[in-house]
Symmetry: C2
Subunit: 420 residues, 2 copies
Amino acid sequence: MLLAVSGGVDSVVLVRLFKDAGFNFAIAHCNFQLRGLESDGDEVFVRELAQLNNVSCFVQSFDTKNYAALQGVSTQMAARDLRYGWFSDLMAEHNFKYIATAHHLDDSLETVLFNLTKGTGIAGLRGILPKKNNLIRPLLFASKENILSFARQKGLQWREDSSNQSTKYSRNLIRHEVIPALKKINPSMVTTFMQVSQRLEGTEKVLQQRVDQLRRESLTEQGEDLYLLKEKIAEQPAVVIEELLKPYGYNWQQVQEILNGLEGLVGKMFLSGSYQLNIDRSHLIISPLKKGEIGEQYIEINEEYVDNEVVKLRCYYSGEPKNFLKQKHEASLDFDCLKFPLKLRKWVEGDAFRPLGMRGKKKISDFMIDEKIPLNLKERVCVIESAGEVVWVVGHRVDDRFKVRPDTKRIFNMVMLQND
Amino acid sequence: MLLAVSGGVDSVVLVRLFKDAGFNFAIAHCNFQLRGLESDGDEVFVRELAQLNNVSCFVQSFDTKNYAALQGVSTQMAARDLRYGWFSDLMAEHNFKYIATAHHLDDSLETVLFNLTKGTGIAGLRGILPKKNNLIRPLLFASKENILSFARQKGLQWREDSSNQSTKYSRNLIRHEVIPALKKINPSMVTTFMQVSQRLEGTEKVLQQRVDQLRRESLTEQGEDLYLLKEKIAEQPAVVIEELLKPYGYNWQQVQEILNGLEGLVGKMFLSGSYQLNIDRSHLIISPLKKGEIGEQYIEINEEYVDNEVVKLRCYYSGEPKNFLKQKHEASLDFDCLKFPLKLRKWVEGDAFRPLGMRGKKKISDFMIDEKIPLNLKERVCVIESAGEVVWVVGHRVDDRFKVRPDTKRIFNMVMLQND
C-alpha cells in the first residue's frame, strides 16, 4: 500500500497505525511549493519519518501555481489534479494495490455540511467513502479529537500547516463556526455522524441497485442511440431517473422538465452538454450531439467550472465588486437579480436582451451586426440565461437589468478561460 | 380544510393565500396560556382575522403548564400533544378533510440540521413532508424571507411571538448561528434546500419500497411470533434491516449486533423494549414480551424520554451541575465518561457497580440487601449501562466512577417520572 503523507498530524498517525499493524507500505509526499521554506521543511520531515519507519519514500515537487494558471483552475483544484495524477502513475509503476489517505470523520462531516449548503442528493450527504476503487481512507472511524489525542499519547511529532488559503474559506467557516455551534446541541456530533454516514451509505446502495435494475429493464441501444421505455420511467421517483440520466449530463432541474414533458407533445427535445434527449411515442431517445454541435449546460450556485466545448467559464460568488466594465471576457452580475440554475447555451434566432447602457431591448442578431462579429464566429456565440432572460452574451456584453449597481449586495462573477 | 393559525406571519400569509385561491376553509387557534396577556392578545387577533376573512374560527384554551407537569413532559411536548389531539377531534366532528400548518422551508432546513446533529437516517434528512395522511404543509415551497416579503408587500398585519423558551434553544442556535454562517457560502441555501429535500424524499421512497418487498418475501406470522428468513436478511444493506425491525423497537446499534450475530451461535437473543428476537437456524424469530417482562432500551444522546413500562425517565444534557446528590430519583453523570447509546435494562445476577462514595465494586444483589429493598421490588430494579458498565441503579445509587466531579465539563441528567 501507498500512504499519502503531508506531514500533518492525520497522516503521521496513519503511518504509526500502519507500522504498528505490521502492514507493508511506502510513503508518497507531494511538495506543491505553495508555502516556500515551509513546504521544503514538510518534505524533509516526511523523508525523515520514512527513514525512521524504514519504508520507501517517494517525493515529487510540482509547480502548482504555474499549472493552475495554465489550466485556468484554482490552486486547490490544480493541487488535487497533480496529486492524484502522480499517485496513479506511482501505483502503476510500482504495483501498489491501494493508496491510503488520512481523511477522518471531521473531514467527512465538513464535506457533508458543505454539500448540504450547495445542494446535493444522497451521494453528497453520506460523506467520504471508506473505499472507492483502489483509494482507501482507513482513518474515517476516528474524529480529529481522537487523532490528536492518540498523537499526543504516543508522543508523535508532526508539522502544522500554516496555510489559510482563500479556497479553504468555506471549509474553515464550517470547521470553526458551524460545527462548534452544532456541538452545543450534541457534543458528540462528530462520532454520531459515523452512524448517519453508514446508514446513508446503505441507502445510497439501495438507490443504486434500483437504478441498475431500471437500466436493465428499460434501456436498449440502437447504434449510437439509447432507447428508454417511457412506461418504465413514469412510475419511478424522479431521483431514480436523475441517477439514470446523470451519465448523459442531465441534472435535477432538467429531469423535472423531462418528467413533466412525458405526457406532453411528442418530439420535445432536451439538450445537455453533449447529448440530446427526444420524447418519442413510447420511448425517450438519447443521442450524442454531433461534433461541433453546442449543447446546453446548467450553472448551479457554487458551480465552479462550466465548459460546453466552445466556452469555458469559471464562476464565483463574491461580496465586493470587480472592475466589471473593462473586460469583455468577464461578467459581474447582481446575484440577487439572478435565478439559479443559470443556463449556458448557444444563442438562437429570436433571442433579445438589453445591452449594458441601453434602455430598450435589442435582438441578439442585430447586436451581432452592430458589433461586427464575423459570420463564422456568429454561429458559436453563447449566452447565459436566467429564468428565460439573457443576462450575458458571453464574451460581448452583459444585460443592463442584471448589472452591478451601487446598491448591489452580492455579486456573481463569470470569467472566460482559454480552451486547451 | 382547517388552517392552524397562531397569528404569526407564517399563518397569516397562509390564510391570505387560501383566501386568494378561493379555497373553502376554517381557522383553528390554540391558546396555550403560556405568555399571559400576550396569549390572549393573539387569540383576539386571530378571531378578528377570521371575521375579516369571513370564515369560522375555533379557539381552545389549554392549561399547558399543568398538563406538562401532570404528564412529566416538557412544555413544548405538552403543547404539541394538546394541539394535535384537539385538531384531530375538530376534524372528526366537523368533517374537515385536511389540516394545514404554516411550516416553511426554513423550518424544514432547521429540522434537518437538528436531526443531522443528533444522528438520523434518511427520514431525518429529507425534511418536513408536504403531506402526511391528512396533515398538509402548503407553505413548504417558500422560505421565511419569501413569506416576510409577501406579507409586507400585501400590507398584512401579524403578531410577533416574544417567547424565547429554553426548549427552543437548539432551534434558535441553528437559526441564528448555523444557517447565517452557511449562507456566507451559499446565500440561497434555503431555496437550494428544496431540491435536496425533494431528492431525498424520492430516495426514502425507494428505500421504503425495498423494505416492503423484503417484508413480503421474508416475513411470515405464526401465532404471535414473526419468522424472518435469515438468508434474505444477510444480503441486504443494514439500513434495510433497520427499517424492517424498527416497528419492533430495534435501533441501528442493535441491528448491527443482530447482523453480526447472524453467523454466530444459534439461540442468541436480543431484547427491545417490548419484543425479543432470537437467532434460530434458518430464521430470526421475533416474539412480543409477556406482560410484566422487562425489555431493553437504548438511550441516544438527546433522547428526551425513555420508558420501559417499569421506569420512565426524562434525560437532558446540561453544562451546569445540579444538586445531584440529594434525590434518589435523579442522576447527574459526567457526560464525557459515558459512551452512547446507554442502555436501560433490568438488573441481572452478576451485575456489579461501584456505589457512589465507595472504593470497590459491589454486586447489585448485595447492594439491594444492604439497601433493604423488599423482595417484590427487587425483581423490578433497573440499571443504566454504558459500554457494559452499570452507571446507575435507577432510583437508588449512581456509580462512583461516573459521578460529577469538580472538573466535570458536561453533565448528562436523568430524572425518574411518575408512571401513569
